[in-house]
Symmetry: C2
Subunit: 287 residues, 2 copies
């Protein structure tokens, strides 16, 4: 039976560090402040917003909500982004997407000030993720790394198989792992399924982020492997499941993240880690 | 003995297509025009510039040279980039780098108009390479793909091992190959050398771009493999050699590019391919 890599332990460790950093900032008269921009009433957006509010309270940070109705005009959304950019007391922003249909999302997200772009949604941030010079990464991508680091699972010089090539997770986590000197195999839906076993055989770590339950099964797994499951799907019985066949795979590998309670639970902590880093930069406490 | 993938055949095929496209543009009163900006007298820069001039003549395109002395001020270089941006008769630019020491290269290259950025040197271009929406790729990266396409070597669903993670070749060619639905293994100097054989065993194609002769040897190669050698090094006898041990590897694999006469010889043709595409866009002949 493999070790279960619970998110809560990673979160507790990140929060411990953040609390003392927030206190140090407050002693300088600075309270890290997150802007959350939400357009419409998507339940997933509201859940993430509520998680952020709760986490802010735990850490002693502030949240300023920018909430617009689903039928708001594009101009109103742009005005909100500009207010976020111009408010010096705001250190970073979470812009919940996708926006309601008909809005020029590409234009709006690229208006966000790069120093406040905590989830790396601007093209400028994407370029830095690609070139390896980014400060902020999409929070879920960085959450994968935080779990590995907390559990002292080395990445440098190791082979990591990443399954999935989305812009929010597959691509950025590949670049982040490469920056940490991992040899990264970028697999995806067009990867020859007959090759997957051979690719996994070489991999010390597998990050699965396809959005399809059962992407990674026991037959693909081997002893010694660490599995990071980014998936969050609801199965036919209404139960939350990942992209990995947890029951089968956990019998074989060394370590595996659960769903729920794994990667997803670390994402909000990473958001605040990147917020506090932004505030520390403003305060001159880091470069 | 493997098939030698000579660049000249690929170049001839690209040029055939470009000549008819240039003629069609000229019939509309448009001559594709390349700007070449060179600061100082670096022999490599001058060689690339001369190759561009010669190729332009072959194709019926024009070149406008912007040549500044090595001791030029940063303002003069910026003025040249702005002239390139503002001259509507110029469809694309080759900016030879690195610039002489002391210049803010990051600032200067990011001033180039994105539609004229043929070698994808701006951050905006990097972001598009990363997201998979790029029109222009660094020319050497695209040259690798052109060689594979011309020789009808399939990429989609195949495993490609890319050795080297530079911004000019390793990273962009990895993203370009992924966009073409290859499964890409991104290896580099920190890859565990004991793993390299296993990684290569899975690879249908290997792109070697480390700048170190002997990076890829006969022991790593296998029958059926295609090898793209991006290296261009001068050995102790003053002879040009690639990153691949050509003599040994060519005895084993199916196909291999030579050095010289391989990837490097295709780069200038790709530059003009991207120039003509930019001119066609201006002319409304492509999106």
């Amino acid at each position: 039976m493999s070790k279960i890599l619970y998110g809560k332990e990673v979160v507790a460790s990140i929060e411990d560090e953040l609390k003392s950093e927030v206190n140090a900032l407050k002693n300088m008269g600075i309270t890290p402040k997150l802007a959350v921009l939400r357009v419409g009433e998507n339940p997933g957006d509201i859940a993430y917003e509520n998680a952020a509010l709760k986490k802010a309270e735990t850490l002693g940070a502030e949240v300023k909500k920018f909430t617009l109705p689903g039928e708001a005009t594009e101009d109103k959304v742009i005005a909100a982004v500009e207010e976020i950019n111009n408010d010096d007391s705001i250190h970073g922003a979470l812009i919940l997407r996708p926006f309601p249909k008909g809005m020029d999302e590409e234009k709006i997200r690229n208006l966000l000030n790069k120093d406040k772009d905590l989830d790396a949604i601007t093209d400028e941030a994407s370029a830095l993720v690609f070139t390896g010079k980014a400060r902020n990464y999409p929070c879920t991508a960085r959450a994968c790394l935080e779990i590995l680091k907390y559990n002292k699972i080395p990445v440098s010089g190791k082979v990591v198989l990443v399954i999935g090539r989305s812009l929010v997770i597959g691509k950025p986590v590949s670049m982040l792992l490469q920056r940490e000197n991992a040899t990264v195999i970028m697999a995806h839906s067009k990867t020859d399924s007959r090759q997957m076993k051979g690719l996994s055989d070489l991999a010390d770590i597998v990050v699965v982020a396809t959005g399809r339950p059962g992407t990674f099964t026991r037959e693909l797994a081997h002893e010694g492997q660490t599995i990071i499951d980014v998936g969050m799907n609801r199965n036919s019985e209404g139960k939350l499941v990942g992209d990995v066949d947890f029951e089968g795979v956990s019998k074989v590998v060394d370590a595996i993240t659960p769903v729920p309670g794994g990667v997803g639970s670390v994402t909000t902590a990473v958001l605040f880690k990147q917020l506090v880093e932004a505030a520390r930069k403003v305060a001159g406490l880091s470069e």
